[in-house]
């Protein structure tokens, strides 16, 4: 299948390994990711603080590019995904806001394409079998907890989640490549990324607790699907130092994708020890 791909700004910076591993895994699965032409920033957590229409206009432009390209749009970074879905919801709700977007961007939203997160990709029928079939090195013995954070599951109406209190797609993906996904109670709690730059200390308090709880659950690593969650948890756990892996990195390891040594080098806590 061919998918339009929205990498987001961190693709070339803090979440470089997320993009690389996503591309590698999709290629291995026989799917093609086509980066959408000339995309712009989704607005992060900041645009909405400054101006509501700006926060919708930024992702709306990306939606319109994807519409022209005519394929389902996948945004693996949870933050980007959430913003794109907000623009989509604004269009679907219609009314003044949708009209203003149309006017400002000079193009109609026709509602013909879908917007997916990685979770949506994993929730497709047969997705797990597809992944399991390509495993070269099962990750047996590796114990992980999945961490979804906020943006992938909330608000449910906006992101289209059906089980926002206890999602399981990341766990299923981890199990499909032979790892053991452990139960824990903090998978949809917030990592505090919004305050990461301005109040690093507050953010560290939150991440430290998450690290401790993951360790208490018996995890060797935390699996995520968001550039901000990864950066935050990797940088700011103070009492633990669990590696924080993108789900695509975990799958990429099981697939034995090329170039994954370079992914591990980007982590502050080196995860390569997990795979020996």
């Amino acid at each position: 299948m061919e998918l339009s791909f929205y990498p987001g700004c961190t693709a070339h910076s803090t979440a470089w390994e997320f993009t690389k591993s996503t591309e590698a895994v999709f290629t291995a699965l026989g799917h093609e990711l086509k980066e959408i032409e000339d995309w712009n920033c989704c607005g992060g957590a900041s645009a909405k603080v400054v101006d509501k229409m700006l926060s919708l206009g930024l992702p709306a432009r990306n939606l319109l590019i994807a519409q022209r390209e005519g394929r389902t749009l996948i945004a693996p970074c949870a933050g980007c995904f959430n913003n794109v879905r907000r623009a989509l919801t604004a269009y679907e709700d219609g009314g003044e806001v949708a009209k203003a977007l149309e006017e400002a961007l000079g193009e109609k939203w026709k509602g013909e394409i879908e917007v997916w997160s990685l979770v949506d990709f994993f929730d497709r029928e047969g997705a797990m079998e597809e992944i399991a079939a390509r495993v070269k090195k099962p990750l047996s013995g590796l114990k992980v907890v999945a961490y979804y954070g906020c943006q992938m599951v909330r608000p449910p109406r906006v992101v289209g989640s059906s089980d926002w209190e206890n999602p399981t797609a990341l766990e299923r993906a981890a199990e499909a490549v032979g790892a053991t996904a452990l139960e824990w109670s903090y998978k949809v709690d917030c990592c505090g990324a919004d305050l990461g730059i301005s109040h690093g200390g507050h953010c560290a308090d939150i991440c430290t607790r998450l690290g401790e709880e993951a360790a208490k659950a018996g995890a060797d690593a935390i699996v995520v699907s968001c550039g901000l969650c990864q950066a935050n948890l990797d940088m700011r756990q103070s009492k633990t130092s669990l590696p924080v892996l993108y789900i695509t990195e975990l799958i990429g390891e099981a697939f034995q994708c090329e170039g994954r040594q370079k992914w591990w080098k980007k982590h502050l806590t080196d995860p390569s020890g997990l795979f020996k």
Binding site: W39, C41, G43, V49, D51, V188, C190, S198, G200, M235
Partner: protein, 174 residues
């Protein structure tokens, strides 16, 4: 409803009259301890028309937008939307923020997007540091990321950036 509550309600799309002060929002909030009043108190303050207090409050800047409150609210009130409306209003009216660092960060971020179409972390962080005069916090972490090659020099470029001009031009006009 007072004029202020009405305006917040319209900007945020939230029906404030539904709140019955159960406090479920505050019970699940990750940042309530840094607020002047708990989440349900913020709603109460809006209902009471306490505009000055709210625009000058820490709460509006310390909300992390995790949407836990709204998702679990029995009455479908998304407080993050209220917080955004209050922040938009504070910026429009030039109110001195109680948490200047938070505001400076968000402004640096959107500034970067307005210049390049995408965020350029290095210049954005430098702008933030200079404006917030917070030179040393998180320096270690930043340096580590820098050393990992995660904060590139190269400037991003979006050819159709002009298509977004309307939004930047109109920002802060309510």
């Amino acid at each position: 409803m007072n004029a202020f509550a009405k305006e917040i309600s319209e900007r945020s799309g939230q029906d404030l009259s539904r709140c019955y002060q159960c406090g479920k929002c505050s019970a699940g909030c990750p940042s309530v301890e840094w607020f002047d009043w708990p989440n349900h108190g913020v709603i109460r303050k809006i209902q009471l028309g306490a505009k000055d207090e709210l625009l000058k409050s820490h709460a509006i800047w310390m909300c992390v937008g995790c949407e836990t409150c709204g998702t679990r609210c029995p009455n479908d009130i998304y407080i993050s939307q209220l917080m955004d409306a209050l922040r938009n209003m504070a910026l429009e009216e030039g109110v001195k923020p109680a948490e200047p660092a938070v505001m400076t960060f968000h402004q640096a971020f959107t500034g970067s997007v307005s210049r390049f179409g995408r965020v350029h972390e290095l210049s954005m962080l430098m702008e933030y540091k200079l404006k917030s005069k917070d030179y040393f916090s998180d320096l270690g972490a930043g340096m580590k990321l820098f050393a990992k090659g995660k904060i590139p020099f190269m400037l991003p470029k979006v050819k159709g950036k002009g298509e977004l001009d309307t939004f930047f031009k109109n920002k802060g006009k309510g």
